[in-house]
């Protein structure tokens, strides 16, 4: 039977990927970020999950607004690295766990989640900007992924409540997979940032700190908030933290944060948390 060993919450800012690809580990402007990911990398190296289920979003790279899904589950064997304007990042293709993904698809659709199913499409930094900070990409990835891509770009977006519920049913789906597999859940996005309008550049560190407490101790309170609440408190684009609620719903209710870091250098608050 598959087990869920815990979860990770992480930002997925594109500059995280740039800092990694340019080898900025020793640059004082970036060193705190790399330090923040070290415990997450150590946890993954220690626990050795077979599969990471990634709750992330595409950034109008693979999915365009002519055909935009609310929840899109990848069921492929492999995923190319998307070109986002500079050519694909120099990292290996991701390998998908197609059998687990198909099982999840059938279970979630039976449970009345109206998934879009995708295969043979590339993935963008929403997934792999945090991944390279935590999982070795050389010579190849140590395991497989299942991408669950969420609409956080185009209103109407799924409600926080719906995301938390999706997490609960994702947990049920994974735990009913018949083969032995160690699975970790990753929720990505945020923390506070706004990229557009006159409020561009907005951050809210007190709210970010509170969010990191609530996602651990009282996710129900986050699920009861509206998207407008999330936008007001964390910025338009910061509302994407609802993807952490999917992760939180999929790990054990009693899970506790064994690591937390927070770094706000420029436009987006970058956080990493590990839950077990």
């Amino acid at each position: 039977m598959a087990t869920i060993i815990g979860g990770i919450g992480t930002s997925h800012v594109p500059t995280i990927a740039m800092a990694f690809d340019r080898g900025k580990q020793a640059d004082p402007d970036w060193a705190p970020l790399f330090a923040g990911y070290e415990p997450a990398a150590a946890w993954l190296a220690d626990k050795q999950p077979d599969v990471l289920v990634f709750c992330a979003n595409d950034h109008a790279t693979t999915f365009f607004f002519d055909h935009y899904p609310t929840f899109a589950l990848g069921v492929g064997d492999e995923y190319a690295i998307a070109d986002e304007g500079l050519g694909p990042r120099p990292i290996p293709r991701l390998r998908g766990h197609a059998a687990l993904a198909r099982h999840i698809a059938c279970s979630l659709v039976e449970d009345e989640f109206d998934l879009t199913i995708f295969q043979g499409l590339p993935l963008d930094h929403g997934l792999h900007s945090p991944l390279t900070m935590m999982w070795p990409s050389r010579p190849d990835w140590p395991g497989q992924v299942v991408p669950l891509m969420v609409n956080v770009l185009q209103h109407p977006m799924p409600t926080p409540r719906r995301c938390f519920k999706l997490g609960h049913h994702l947990r049920k789906a994974i735990l009913s997979y018949p083969d032995d597999l160690k699975v970790a859940i990753v929720g990505t996005g945020g923390l506070s940032h706004q990229l557009i309008g006159e409020r561009a550049g907005f951050n809210n560190e007190p709210w970010d700190r509170e969010f990191l407490e609530l996602i651990e101790r009282d996710p129900e309170r986050l699920a009861a908030m509206s998207l407008d609440d999330f936008r007001r408190l964390g910025g338009n684009e910061g509302a994407e933290v609802i993807m952490w609620l999917i992760m939180r719903g999929a790990i054990a209710p009693a899970a506790r944060a064994i690591h937390r870091s927070y770094y706000l250098p420029m436009t987006t608050a970058m956080a990493v948390a590990v839950f077990e």
Partner: protein, 108 residues
């Protein structure tokens, strides 16, 4: 304060310009635009207002026109413009002014 929530009205209004911006995720489109931007914009059916905004890289006007930040990001990457430069433009500031408000101005 204008919010620019990317809702379905905005998405419909911006569909053509966003399709064009989105296409910069393809190397062939980037090469074509670098070689002959006017022809590339004409082929995409952009109107005069849209072409002018693209020529001037007027990020704020593009945003107001319905461009998605994430589509604009593709053009920015393809033409060597960073996200802090775009964000500064939305705020009506120079890059230096914007960076002066940040904790770690070198982190970009």
């Amino acid at each position: 304060m204008a919010n620019y929530l990317f809702d379905l009205e905005r998405s419909a209004k911006g569909l053509r310009i966003n399709r064009f911006l989105h296409s910069f995720a393809t190397a062939a489109v980037r090469a074509r635009f670098a070689g002959d931007p006017e022809q590339a914009m004409a082929d995409a059916g952009l109107d005069d207002v849209e072409r002018d905004m693209i020529r001037r890289r007027d990020w704020r006007a593009l945003m107001e026109h319905g461009a998605s930040f994430f589509c604009l990001e593709k053009l920015a990457r393809a033409t060597g413009v960073s996200n802090p430069e775009m964000v500064a433009a939305f705020r009506g500031e120079t890059l230096a002014q914007f960076l002066a408000t940040r904790r770690v101005p070198g982190a970009r």
